[in-house]
């Protein structure tokens, strides 16, 4: 039986039925914003601006403690730098899985390689003789991230940038199951969830499954025009609003970040 979540009438009024993408011009193009409860999947090209869009998406942060930005590639310092640059709120929850993985797993692997190649030094041996227990290192980041997002309350806002980290290390079926759970949670709690995944190396089957789970599918693309790069965002799925399917060419400005310039309707 589905869980029954009670929403406060004041909250309903405050949050409304749609939330902002964090990009005003994009909100206008999408007839007000993104409906509460939506899960967005963005298929991205390298260098297409999706990381900036992901950060911009959490910037409205209606409730900072109910907002989370999960990055698998960037470090805390870099994220803070971008938020400061655009004057976006700094009190949201940020988790940097990539950094955690580097310190918990990769550093350990590097040290193991050093021990195997160069052997133990006296101080290593003394420490080894005094170490009685194995440090727990089998962290299941997929479960942790799922639990972290599912712990968020009504009207949450969450970004997972990107799914590549999990698809490269876990069984894709497990990753898709996680996305399904998150989508159900977003729907139930009227949350807004943005997940990015790069198109390079993504299997058509996984892409198809992710597209079918998502309420909104975006593609971030980059191409060369003359001597310039042209970045665009394609809205190829918008549940129950096919009129929103569009191609938006955008540029990045120092004031507003991602800024759509020209719009072309698909349907």
């Amino acid at each position: 039986m589905a869980k029954d979540v009670q929403f406060d009438s004041e909250d309903e009024e405050f949050f409304g039925s749609v939330g902002s993408f964090g990009v005003p011009k994009f909100d206008n193009e999408m007839r007000g914003g993104v409906p509460r409860g939506f899960t967005m999947i963005a298929f991205t090209d390298i260098g297409s601006g999706s990381e900036l869009f992901a950060k911009q998406f959490v910037s409205p942060a209606e409730e900072a403690e109910n907002t989370i930005y999960i990055s698998t590639n960037e470090g805390q310092a870099e994220i803070v730098r971008i938020f400061q640059k655009y004057d976006w709120p700094l009190d949201i929850n940020v988790r940097t899985i990539g950094e955690e993985y580097n310190s918990n797993v990769l550093e350990k692997e590097l040290l193991a390689s050093r021990y195997r190649l160069e052997g133990f030094r006296l101080e290593d041996i003394q420490r080894l003789a005094q170490t009685r227990f194995v440090e727990e290192s089998n962290q299941d980041y997929l479960t942790e991230v799922t639990n972290e997002v599912m712990a968020l309350g009504p009207y949450f806002r969450a970004v997972l940038d990107s799914l590549d980290f999990f698809l490269q290390r876990d069984d894709p079926a497990r990753v898709i199951a996680m996305v399904r759970m998150l989508q159900a949670h977003a729907q139930l709690y009227r949350g807004l969830l943005f997940i990015s995944v790069s198109t390079d190396g993504l299997s058509p089957k996984v892409k198809q499954e992710l597209s079918s789970i998502a309420d909104m599918v975006l593609s971030f693309q980059v191409r060369t025009v003359g001597t310039d790069f042209e970045t665009s965002m394609i809205v190829s799925k918008f549940r129950n609003a096919p009129e929103n399917l569009k191609i938006l060419v955008f540029r990045v400005t120092p004031e507003e970040g991602i800024t759509p310039e020209t719009v072309e309707r698909i349907a």
Binding site: K108, E109, A112, Y115, G119, I125, L128
Partner: protein, 271 residues
């Protein structure tokens, strides 16, 4: 020049009287069985059934060495070191200061595996070589002269090929011998009767320089522990079964009398 003609006398000596230096185990009765101790640098397999006193024997071997100021190392794979040290504290011969001062260095194999990135179910050739390198490194760096691995059976379960187990034991034994380290490899066996193998994988007993078997024998309704030195290269030794008593003061060995055993045909103790 004929020295005899010059009146220089020679003591009568049979050819091959050379005797190897010994690592005096200090275990009551064992050095007598081995005619002075284990030849230095030997790798000895201490194979026994569960509860036969293998770990206590190995630990006492280290403690006696530490008492003489030798650096000792114990690699434990069958129980956590915390538990091992708690269990061994009940024996009067053991003093925790030996661990605190670094005379006896106890290493958890699980921790060593983790440090080497060997947290896997089976080891390949590279893994085996890094394990050997690490053990040899430790022995070399802190000048270990007495080493116990408890148990080599648990360790070898991770090495899937018999050839690799052979290489592992042979290379490890050779390197430790070069460093002058006398090693006891503890092995778990299910039966210590005369037809049994003295090792789980069949190759340990052939590679090692010595085999000490520990087991139980039923005698007049009592289960007695026994110890028997089956093989020891580089020394003559008694091959008789000896009764083991695990006393608060340590292991005590006494010759076993040839009477009173149940199933005497199967258990030819004292032969």
């Amino acid at each position: 020049m004929n020295l005899r003609a010059l009146g220089v006398s020679f003591p009568m000596q049979p050819v091959g009287m050379y005797s190897r230096d010994r690592c005096v185990t200090g275990v009551h009765g064992l050095d007598e069985i081995l005619r002075g101790g284990i030849p230095y640098g030997s790798t000895v397999l201490a194979a026994g059934t569960c509860g036969s006193g293998k770990t206590t024997l190995g630990m006492e071997f280290l403690v006696r060495g530490a008492n003489a100021g030798e650096a000792c190392a114990h690699f434990t794979a069958t129980e956590p070191s915390v538990k091992l040290l708690e269990n061994i504290r009940q024996f009067g011969f053991f003093d925790m200061k030996m661990v605190d001062t670094g005379l006896i260095n106890v290493f958890d194999m699980d921790v060593l595996y983790s440090w080497l990135g060997l947290e896997k179910s089976s080891f390949d050739l590279d893994d085996v070589h890094s394990l050997i390198k690490s053990i040899v490194d430790i022995v070399n760096t802190i000048g270990v002269t007495r080493l116990v691995i408890d148990s080599v059976t648990t360790l070898c379960y991770k090495i899937k090929s018999e050839q690799l187990i052979r290489d592992f034991l042979f290379t490890l034994g050779k390197k430790l011998a070069t460093l002058g380290c006398t090693t006891i490899l503890i092995a778990e066996i299910t039966s210590a009767t005369q037809n049994a193998h003295w090792s789980s994988f069949g190759v340990e007993e052939a590679i090692c320089d010595g085999i000490i078997v520990l087991g139980d024998i039923e005698r007049m309704g009592h289960l007695l522990r026994f110890l028997q030195v089956v093989k020891m290269r580089g020394t003559s030794h008694s091959r008789a079964k000896h009764a083991i008593e695990l006393t608060p003061l340590g292991v005590m060995l006494t010759p076993m009398l040839k009477w009173g055993a149940v199933n005497d045909n199967l258990n030819r103790w004292g032969s």
